[in-house]
């Protein structure tokens, strides 16, 4: 499942990721993320840290509490050690830059999917 408030980014991800993943849905607003995650129960959600006015870190925490065993890959335009720590404490499986290339995103999704299969969850 993809969650980003910019339609162009979602389209680009869908086109590239559809060869390696099954995309079960996409959302563009913070309030829709949790409801859709609970309803669709995706293995992995790719979630933008800045989803409009919503804080992706807070959404990640909620997803980990209410939509188990969904794993979360957080993406942001900037990745810093502090944000990476915050993402880890929010329960994200990994934290990837939007500009680091599709290969990094795919690798993060594969790792998160593996976590969901083995039932491991970040704190």
């Amino acid at each position: 499942m993809l969650a980003d408030d910019y339609p162009g980014v979602v389209s680009a991800w869908q086109r590239v990721l559809e060869f390696s993943c099954e995309i079960v849905g996409s959302v563009s607003t913070g309030w829709a993320v949790l409801e859709t995650a609970v309803r669709l129960s995706p293995d992995v959600i790719v979630l933008d840290v800045n989803l409009g006015q919503a804080n992706g870190l807070d959404l990640c925490r909620e997803i980990k509490q209410k939509a188990r065993p969904t794993q979360v890959v957080l993406v942001s335009a900037t990745v810093t050690d502090e944000l990476r720590d915050a993402a880890h404490h929010a329960g994200a499986s990994s934290f990837v830059s939007k500009f680091s290339g599709i290969a990094d995103l795919e690798s993060a999704i594969r790792c998160a999917y593996s976590n969901s299969l083995h039932g491991s969850a970040a704190p």
Partner: protein, 241 residues
């Protein structure tokens, strides 16, 4: 320019200005100017982040996909596509950095302390001013206006270090002291006479003073020619204190 009714309200019946009222009007004007400044920054930051940065992110993704799908094309062209993808990604990071400088969303994401560490580290790397940072534990529920004020003070003060100090090292400390949050920005540069009027530096210092006053804080400046500069800001943890 003050509205006519505001001008009228500060003049007493005998035509002499009411100094308390003038001061209150000036404070209100100052608050509005700072608020307007922040609103404009937020607007620009959103345009950059919501439009330009996202379009660049799409370009970067499309170029990466193109490089992957271009099997069989000459290596030279394939390598150029890969390089273009990297250049576009770097452009996207720069646009995001500018957007973030205008409006630090990271403040809400990870809190004031970590946000200041991130800013100082990026500042050190881009402006070549080594910035030593010490941040103590801060309240989780820190007022967002206080957090933004302190963040802007750090931005402005370090900008002044680059512009005026003549040195390439500064220190930033941030700690709780009883009910106040205390910020210090220090350099061992050329210093200046605070009582003298220096265009540019004065505007920046006035802006800092006003921001601090709007959150009921205290702004202090120590500087002496040849002996560096220290800015200290004390702000109550809550703006209504």
């Amino acid at each position: 320019m003050m509205p006519a009714e505001s001008v009228a309200s500060v003049v007493s019946n005998n035509g002499r200005p009411n100094s308390a009222a003038v001061e209150e009007e000036l404070r209100e004007l100052s608050r509005r100017l700072v608020s307007a400044h922040e609103e404009e920054r937020i607007r620009l930051a959103r345009e950059l982040h919501d439009d330009v940065a996202q379009r660049v992110a799409v370009l970067a993704a499309e170029l990466t996909a193109l490089a992957r799908e271009s099997e069989g094309i000459p290596d030279g062209i394939s390598n150029r596509i890969v390089k273009l993808s990297a250049d576009v990604a770097a452009l996207g990071c720069d646009v995001h950095r500018i957007s973030h400088h205008l409006h630090p969303v990271i403040l809400q994401q990870i809190g004031l302390g970590p946000a200041i560490r991130v800013f100082c580290r990026e500042f050190s790397e881009t402006r070549h001013v080594r910035t030593d940072v010490r941040v103590s534990e801060l309240p989780i529920d820190l007022d967002k206006d206080v957090a933004l004020c302190l963040y802007r003070i750090v931005q402005e003060a370090l900008h002044n270090v680059v512009q005026h100090s003549g040195v390439s090292r500064a220190a930033v400390t941030l700690a709780m002291r009883e009910h106040d949050i205390v910020l210090n920005v220090i350099d061992c540069g050329v210093g200046f006479d605070p009582s003298a009027s220096i265009v540019g530096a004065s505007v920046g210092l006035t802006s800092m003073r006003e921001r601090v006053r709007l959150v009921n804080g205290r702004f202090s400046l120590w500087s002496k020619k040849g002996d560096g500069t220290r800015i200290e800001v004390r702000v109550p943890r809550y703006t209504w204190m």
